[in-house]
């Protein structure tokens, strides 16, 4: 009972945050002096009455609150208006870009989680100095090396100097870069948690009984590390947004990140608003799912 109230409260909080973000994004992208009609008028020659008519048809002559309500109501139905530059529905543009970003972020996340778990479990199970050193190395790597720097140097070495990969296109290099970076953020605390679990009585008993190393790792060690892994994955996901953005731009991947950047440079406000709202709200949703899973696994968290 207490737990379901707790989860309900978490959902309410997520809804509040999502609403807060929508408000924030809408009004922040309106602070800019001058509206879209001013901008179009600066490009071509529109008469005063044409500008008036355009403002009326775009709803720009109404109050900010009225505009927000109609924009948010349409957005809730998946209608984000029309791109100013491409005259296409923004929702279509997002739908075209979304698969690239989802595949890229998903692959990077899997590589990161796989690498972090592999190294941490390997280091604890084998007690190998080399693997433990690798855990530290990946951790220091992610702290010291910003991903866009690694990306640029990677292109320089692998494509320009060695001629292995085409300079642009292809997800292999960026997925590896973001994967290793994500692994570095997780691997150290994960390793510490697993090491502590490995010294606990039930693991010792299992080993003494002659349970195989694989079974000890899967059945006894990993469940102990799950709460920490969940908490860390929330952190990693936030980092993934920045990483995906820069990698998409650097490697020319046609995802949401590239779309957002080109919209910002082209002052295409409907696209900017929609892209940022979609990314941020998706992140709030994922984070609240992680939080709820966390609470289900570890009921002590319920407050």
């Amino acid at each position: 009972m207490k737990q379901s109230i707790d989860i309900g409260l978490r959902l309410v909080k997520a809804l509040g945050q999502a609403l807060g973000i929508v408000v924030l994004v809408f009004f922040l992208s309106r602070i800019v002096p001058g509206d879209t009609v001013d901008m179009l008028a600066a490009q071509g020659d529109l008469t005063e009455s044409q500008q008036q008519a355009m403002r009326h048809s775009l709803g720009l002559d109404r109050s900010a609150v009225q505009q927000f309500v109609s924009w948010a109501a349409a957005a809730a139905h998946g209608d984000f208006g029309e791109s100013l530059r491409f005259k296409r529905p923004v929702a279509d543009m997002l739908a075209t870009a979304l698969p690239t970003t989802l595949v890229f972020a998903g692959l990077s996340f899997l590589v990161g989680v796989g690498l972090a778990f592999g190294l941490a479990v390997g280091a604890v199970m084998t007690q190998s100095r080399a693997i433990t050193a690798l855990v530290d190395a990946v951790n220091v790597w992610s702290i010291a090396l910003p991903t866009f720097c690694v990306g640029v140097v990677g292109i320089l070495v692998l494509s320009v100097w060695l001629g292995w990969l085409p300079v642009l296109g292809g997800m292999l290099l960026p997925v590896l870069i973001i994967g290793i970076d994500s692994a570095g953020q997780m691997v150290k605390p994960l390793h510490e948690e697993l090491r502590e679990a490995a010294t606990s009585a039930h693991v010792r008993t299992a080993r003494a009984k002659g349970v195989s190393a694989l079974r000890v790792a899967l059945v006894h060690l990993l469940p102990a590390a799950l709460p920490v892994a969940l908490a860390l994955s929330g952190l990693v996901l936030a980092g993934l947004v920045a990483g995906t953005l820069t990698m998409e731009v650097l490697f020319g991947l046609p995802g949401i990140g590239s779309l957002t950047l080109s919209a910002i440079h082209g002052r295409d406000y409907p696209v900017i608003q929609a892209a940022i709202v979609v990314i941020a709200v998706a992140l709030v949703a994922i984070n609240s799912v992680i939080d709820i899973l966390h609470r289900l696994i570890d009921p002590r968290l319920a407050t």
Binding site: G16, I21, V32, P146, V160, V167, I264, H265, I279
Partner: protein, 294 residues
């Protein structure tokens, strides 16, 4: 010379500063001096274009070569040090002021204000830093001041939350109860009694946030949304160079190295500060957990 250096390193290590932290501190200090004296050090105007000398390899005239429109890379790097440090440090300072100031003020003004302000802070925190900074730059425009403000707002929640945790811990102490019993109002107790005891945790947080501010500034510059084109930054240099990577690969390594040296050094120092100022340090040292390497 090397003997003098090793002796100095050993002495510092003996005094409690580990050798890596010393090297990091020296690197940061050197970059700070370069940044402060940039106009005097830079051999050329970082914006001067020599269209007869495009993409030149390093030589005696241009020590680090020239870029795609014939600008001296060394001069841009030196001037970029100034802008990068200015915006990064300014952003961290703004985050400190906004986060700690707003957070503590809200805490002192009672539960309702606290709930409202921290609710708003949580909305800001729910957005990834770079995304919020992008949005703020859309709203405020590019340039040194808007980017600094954007960094300040994006990183402010970290300070607000640390301030709240420390504040709640301090408010339960006897000296606060005593000050209240003598009739001290909430703002009086906060500013005179509690705030001095929060400086430690907030400074630690600043040491952790500073390298992240600098990386974020570099990312924004790299995306073409940093300080204005007239002010060279390392991130913008990387962005420019990455477009001409095949004809002028030498222009990319200098700014990338500069970013890595600065952020890695600052992260290392931040971690050192965190360990030194950690109130549980002495308790933890007795436990058999080894020192984190990073």
């Amino acid at each position: 010379m090397s003997l003098v250096l090793t002796t100095a390193v050993r002495r510092a290590a003996w005094a409690g500063l580990p050798a890596p932290a010393l090297v990091a501190a020296a690197a940061v200090l050197a970059l700070a001096v370069i940044g402060a004296a940039a106009p005097m050090i830079a051999p050329y105007d970082p914006l001067d274009q020599d269209l007869l000398a495009l993409n030149q390899m390093p030589d005696a005239v241009h020590w680090l070569g020239t870029d795609h429109i014939g600008r001296d890379v060394l001069s841009r790097l030196v001037m970029g040090t100034r802008t990068t440090l200015l915006v990064g440090v300014g952003g961290a300072a703004a985050a400190f002021a906004i986060g700690a100031g707003l957070g503590l003020l809200a805490l002192a003004l009672g539960r309702i204000v606290e709930g409202l302000v921290f609710g708003a802070i949580d909305v800001v925190r729910a957005m990834p830093g770079v995304l919020l900074a992008l949005l703020l730059i859309v709203a405020l425009g590019a340039g040194v001041v808007p980017v600094t403000i954007a960094l300040g707002i994006s990183f402010a929640p970290f300070f607000a939350h640390v301030a709240r945790a420390a504040y709640q811990r301090e408010m339960a102490q006897d000296y606060v109860t005593a000050a209240r019993m003598f009739g001290g109002g909430p703002l009086h107790v906060l500013s005179l009694h509690v705030a001095p005891n929060l400086v430690g945790v907030l400074v630690t947080q600043a040491a952790i946030i500073l390298p992240r501010c600098i990386v974020t500034e570099s990312v924004l510059s790299f995306l073409g949304l940093g300080a204005s084109p007239d002010a060279p930054t390392w991130g913008r240099m990387v962005a420019d160079a990455s477009r001409y990577i095949e004809v002028a690969p030498h222009t990319i390594l200098a700014p990338v190295l500069a970013i890595i040296v600065l952020t890695a050094s600052l992260s290392l120092l931040g971690d050192h500060v965190r360990q030194r100022l950690d109130p549980l340090r002495h308790v933890r040292r007795q436990s058999p957990v080894e020192e984190p390497t990073s």
